[in-house]
Amino acid sequence: MKKTRRRYLSFLLHSDDSKLDDKQLGMAIWKNLLSLYGEVSAADSKLYLVEFDEKSGAGILQCTASSLNEVITSAVLIGSIGKSLVSFEPKKTSGTIKGLKR
């Protein structure tokens, strides 16, 4: 079986509430991806939130290379999570986590 190419995205989540955790964020991106591009695309994206710092809002997402644009678009379109308004800012993409931190 051919191995799928992965992409990592570093991002910053601006928010008016610092209590947002990784589960809430991951679920919000997943829901938006599902709503915008459908169940098959959401499943194929292999979306995974690698890390997220609740205080700074910085985090890293992992997905397949072919679904990177769709994942970023879905994340950017999140207007709020629960009652808190958020603004998702994509920072850098790379094929490895090490590459992101360079």
Binding site: S35, L36, L77, V86, S87, F88, P90
Partner: protein
């Protein structure tokens, strides 16, 4: 550095928080209605706050009057897409910078209007805020309208400009984020990049030249003043 030319600060007390977020996400300026003072103001660290006028009304006469009165005091003048008569006039009038698409109205951009706008450098403004506030079927309907309108503009060589349309600081998005939304709306990657980065800058630079004391008319500038004999 990019300028977000479609921010909607409703209260001057909120201006500072808009500026803070805009600086954080990498913008070098914002344009907003409802501010006092000069058309082009500078904040800390060379951040530009530009005065913008959103003109709307029922009749052409009222729109003309408003454009007459706001042009000299605003860096950016925008007219909402409404009736064919108003759209065609605004598309041709060089004092109008932008035709702004309002997704909630049934008015659409026609090919003929887009061609007129292309000849007089009037751009189509697409605001992304409705896409953040809506979900599901309602968002799908807005995406449909936006995609069709952008297709019409691009086919007629009318410039499209993307702006946040943010009424809250956290509804602003970075230029890079807006580029991805441009692709969602049917733009190519390079076109979307230009629609948020270069096209708004070009528009602001053109209007800054117009506001300078050396400007006489389009293509006519005073280079050197002669001495009276």
């Amino acid at each position: 550095m990019a300028i977000d030319i479609g921010v909607c600060v409703s209260d001057t007390k909120e201006l500072e928080s808009f500026v803070q977020i805009a600086q954080k996400i990498g913008f070098s300026g914002i344009a907003t209605p409802n501010i006092e003072g000069k058309p082009d103001q500078h904040f800390e660290n060379e951040f530009s706050i530009l005065k913008r006028a959103d003109v709307f009304g029922r009749g052409l006469k009222s729109i003309r009057k408003q454009v007459d009165s706001v042009r000299k005091h605003s860096m950016i003048v925008s007219v909402k897409l409404t009736s064919v008569e108003i759209m065609n006039w605004a598309a041709e009038d060089q004092r109008v910078d932008l035709l702004t698409l309002d997704h909630s109205h049934e008015y659409r951009l026609r090919d003929s209007t887009a061609r007129l706008a292309a000849t007089s450098d009037t751009a189509l403004e697409i605001r992304i805020e409705p896409l953040l506030l809506l979900a599901g079927l309602n968002r799908s309907k807005v995406i449909k309208v936006y995609r069709e309108t952008i297709r019409t503009a691009i086919d007629s060589e009318m410039q499209v400009i993307l702006s946040s349309g943010a009424s809250h600081p956290l509804h602003m998005r970075s230029a890079r984020a807006i580029r991805y939304l441009g692709e969602l709306l049917g733009m190519g990657s390079n076109y979307a990049e230009n629609a948020i980065n270069q096209a708004p800058l070009d528009l602001v630079e053109r209007n800054r030249r117009r506001f300078s004391s050396e400007y006489v008319a389009e293509g006519v500038e005073i280079l050197q003043k002669g001495t009276e004999k």
